[in-house]
Structure formats: structure tokens, C-alpha cells
Amino acid sequence: MMKRAVLAVVALGLLAGVFRLVPLFHLVSLKQEQGRQAAAEFNATNFAASFWNEKLLKSLDRAADAGQVLAALATDPQKARTQFGRTLGVSSSTLFFLRGTGHVVSVTKNGVSLALKDGDGPADILLPTGLLFGNAVRDGTGLLDASAFPNSQNFNDLSSELNRIVETTLLPQLREQAKVGAKISFAGCAELGDEDTDVKPVKVIPVSVKIESLR
């Protein structure tokens, strides 16, 4: 009887040892799994900061003239989209990288409206000053390629980080200084859907803003 009990204890001990070495299952939290999924070495904040300073800000001269693009969109939208825009993968939307100078015709909670020509308007461009969402900044310049990112989660994290840079470095100044009549130079990214016919004012998420004069 005693011998059987000892054998049972030894067997249980052995089994416990085996299961410790080769567990039957692992408990993994959703957060842990999410972390595993995102490549450990990728740091979206650092990548975005480096991209912003080293590439994006050095490529502003690649942006198309906003006045020229708006005129082309009014004349032949399809041709303008092909000539000045780009499409990411398979999409009905077109992305633009634009720059220009205009004067402020109105300021609302949605943003700062600019007219590119002299006069009171109508507004050609809307520089949003609230929360920013989406991929216009990431994809609008054509400087980043989805194929370079093995895990699309990393590519997507960049969007949030780039939007955060705009929100924290550009928008406060814009909210504070952009009064009606102020002259502003800007560069930024816009996205137009295929059903957007009356495009003005085009919502341009700024990547560069310079207040040329306050009034």
C-alpha cells in the first residue's frame, strides 16, 4: 500500500516536471498578444519623429501648388487627380501633397479657412485645428511605402504618431495666431473621395505652417 502511494507520488512529480517543461497550455492576455503581434523592435514614435525631420520637412518642395491643383480640379477633375494626386493600393480616393499661401477668411472650431486669392473668399483651403484622424499625412506625400513594413500594424501606428506631431507642434500656433486677415504659408496633405465633386474648401492637414503676417 505504502509502496503504491510512493510510486503514485513519484509519478505525479514526474508528470508535474514534464508539464512544467512542456506546458499543456499557456494563458496569454489580450494585451500581451497584441504586444507580441507588433514587432518588438519597431518604435513608431521614433520612426515618425525621424521621418518627420529627416524626410518630410526636407521634401516640402515636392508639394504641388495648391492654386494650380484647385484650378485643374475645377476644369478636369480626373486629369487633375492623375496629374497631381496619388492612390494608395486599390482605392477610390486620391491623395494630394499641396502647398500655397493664402489669407484667413474665417476661423471656426473646425479650423482655419484660407482664400488663395485676394478678397474675402470663398475659402479654398481648410486647415483643421481639432483632433486629427486617418492616414493623409502618412500617405499623402508618397514618401512611405506600405511594402517596406512587414507588419501593417507598424505602418498604421505611424499614422497616429504623425497626426500627433501635427497636433502638438503645428496646431497650437495655428489656433493662437491665425486671425481673419492673417497671411499664412502652408504645406500639407489632403484626401479626396471619388464622389467629392464640390471640393472647396479642400481639407489640408498641415505639415508646415508659417504665419507670414498677422493681418
Binding site: 496569454v28 489580450l30 498578444e33 497584441q34 503581434q37 507588433a38 514587432a39 494608395l88 493600393g89 486599390v90 482605392s91 477610390s92 480616393s93 483632433l131 484622424f133 486617418g134 492616414n135 506600405a146 511594402s147 517596406a148 513594413f149 512587414p150 507588419n151 501593417s152 500594424q153 498604421n156 501606428d157 499614422s159 497616429s160
Partner: protein, 318 residues
């Protein structure tokens, strides 16, 4: 004199005709190249549409095509790859079960000289598949998140039903949605749980969550199958009028419920477009094309009660 050149000419003509006939016969009798369509699960109508459309397009293009069901199981998927490589399939249209776990299967096919075209879901590699045509789930859920805030408001309680935790789409959708909704501190997520992209599990999980959280305002589901399950749970609990359901996929049954005002919105993923394009990629590969972009995002469109009339049959109405 005439017969001197006529005889050889006739002989050449006869030989040429015989050669042409033989070639035609050979071409007619040559077996068609075989394309495998490996789908993560056929226990979801959306994936059935994805697989069947890829198969149909491959057949239209002149190939033999067969669908393999991985039943959301990487082991089953690995067995499918072993079998189809041994069976002499020449190209694979592939909807992976796991972004990391499926890489080895694609690599095995690549080593065997078989091109793999991923559809809808990605693998976390840029040098194994020939091309990957992927739903842009993140951007789709950013749009869905913005619409969610517009519909639910800036305060309220909601539940999130996640898909399979090993699939990148699960997290791309969740992150896209949260990139918007988390900016509104008044919107509180009271529960976040996986229902594995499955309708029955969606029903079961939400039933359980409702017991602890009877006062929610909305449910965000990582796919339409879970949205259908969640909606059923809400109907059973008598809460379908007060809780807004948001799905993702563009499945026909959800699009119909949006039209009836029962589900708030979904993201249309265009499975037919992706499936047809992937079969065309395989055809182009057989004709010598090699320079495919590695990752091709396919835009997702927001389907709401305001624009639902434009959508149906897993895409935009023609």
C-alpha cells in the same frame, strides 16, 4: 518541270499541317495548371464569397482551381500546404489564419517554386509571398470610429468584440477604431473580449457581457459575423432598439440590416474585388510577370443608413 517543285512544296505543306494539328491536339489535351485557393475558414459567408470568387475567376482564366478550408487552424493550414505542394498545384491564393504562424507555410511553397498571393489577411513578412492584397482595416475603422462618435455621442458606454487575437486584422481594426474613440474620454469601454470572428461566439460573449453591463449604448464588432451574433443577443435581451451595433466586412446580411435601420454601420471590404485581382495576379505570374508590389492596401468604405443604397453583393452596386 512543274512537278519538280510542286511535290516538295506539297510535302512541306502536308508536314506543316500535320505539325500544327499535333500541336493543337497537344494543347487541347494538355492538363490545365492547378491553382489552390486556401481560405482561413469557410464557416463564415464572407470567406466563402472570397474563396468562391477567386476560384471562379481562376476557372474563367483557364485554370483548374480548388478551395481548401483551413478551419481557422494553423495545423490544418500546414497540412493543406503539404498536400497541395505534393499534388502539383502551381499557384496559391491564400487567406492566412495567423500573421506569424502562416509565414512558414508560405515559405515552404516559395521553396517549392510556387507563388503565393495573400488576400485580405497578411503575413508578417515581405519576402515570402509574391504579393499581398490586404483590406485596409485600420483606415476603415478610423472612418467607422468617427461615425461611431457621431452616432453614439461623446459620452456613453460600449463593448468591443475582437476577432482572432493572432490575426493582424483584429488589431488593425481595433487600433483604427480606438485611434478615434479613445480621444473622447466620455466614451467608456466596459468590456473588450474576443469572439474569434464567429457569429455564435459573438452571441454568446455579448449575452454574458450584458448580464454585468445592461446599460451599454453601443457594440463595436471586429467583423460582421460577430455583429450579427451581437445583434441577436440584443434582440433576445430586448435591447436592440437602445444599443447601436457596428460591424466590419460588408456582409450582405449586415448591409440588409443597415438598410432596415437595425445595425448602425459596417466597413465594406470588397472581397470579390480582392479575390478576382488575386486570381488575375496568378495568371499574370504564369505569363511571366514578377514585379508585384508586396503589400497592396485595398480601401474600405463606410456603409451607413445614409448611403446603404449604394452597396450590396459585397461591393458597390453597379
Amino acid at each position: 518541270m512543274k512537278t519538280n517543285w510542286l511535290k516538295p512544296a506539297l510535302a512541306v505543306l502536308t508536314a506543316a499541317t500535320a505539325m500544327l494539328s499535333t500541336q493543337t491536339l497537344l494543347a487541347q489535351s494538355a492538363p490545365k495548371e492547378k491553382i489552390a485557393v486556401v481560405i482561413s475558414t469557410l464557416n463564415n459567408p464572407w470567406f466563402v464569397v472570397l474563396g468562391e470568387t477567386a476560384k471562379a475567376r481562376a476557372i474563367e482564366l483557364g485554370y483548374d482551381a480548388t478551395i481548401f478550408d483551413s478551419q481557422n487552424d494553423t495545423a490544418k493550414e500546414a497540412a493543406n500546404f503539404e498536400n497541395l505542394i505534393a499534388a502539383g498545384y502551381k499557384a496559391i491564393i491564400f487567406n492566412p489564419t495567423d500573421a506569424n504562424g502562416s509565414i512558414a507555410n508560405v515559405q515552404k511553397a516559395k521553396t517549392a517554386g510556387i507563388p503565393v498571393f495573400c488576400i485580405d489577411r497578411e503575413i508578417n513578412s515581405t519576402n515570402a509571398a509574391t504579393a499581398q492584397m490586404l483590406s485596409d482595416s485600420y483606415s476603415g475603422c478610423v472612418k467607422l470610429g468617427e461615425y461611431f462618435v457621431g452616432q453614439v455621442g461623446e459620452t456613453g458606454k460600449y463593448v468591443e468584440l475582437l476577432g482572432i487575437v493572432g490575426d493582424n486584422n483584429t488589431w488593425n481594426r481595433s487600433k483604427g477604431f480606438h485611434s478615434v474613440v479613445d480621444r473622447y474620454p466620455g466614451l467608456k469601454m466596459v468590456a473588450q473580449q474576443s469572439a474569434e470572428f464567429d457569429r455564435a461566439k459573438g452571441l454568446e460573449v455579448l449575452e454574458s457581457i450584458l448580464q454585468k453591463n445592461p446599460d451599454i449604448n453601443a457594440v463595436f464588432c471586429g467583423n460582421d459575423a460577430m455583429a450579427m451574433g451581437a445583434y441577436q443577443a440584443l434582440v433576445a435581451a430586448g435591447k436592440d432598439k437602445q444599443v447601436k451595433v457596428f460591424g466590419f466586412d460588408g456582409a450582405d446580411d449586415v448591409v440588409k440590416l443597415i438598410a432596415e435601420g437595425k445595425i448602425a454601420a459596417t466597413g465594406m471590404q470588397f472581397p470579390k474585388k480582392m479575390a478576382r485581382q488575386s486570381a488575375e495576379f496568378a495568371d499574370q505570374y504564369f505569363h511571366g510577370k514578377r514585379d508585384f508590389p508586396q503589400k497592396i492596401p485595398v480601401a474600405v468604405e463606410l456603409v451607413t443608413q445614409e448611403n446603404v443604397g449604394k452597396y450590396g453583393d459585397y461591393g458597390r452596386k453597379k
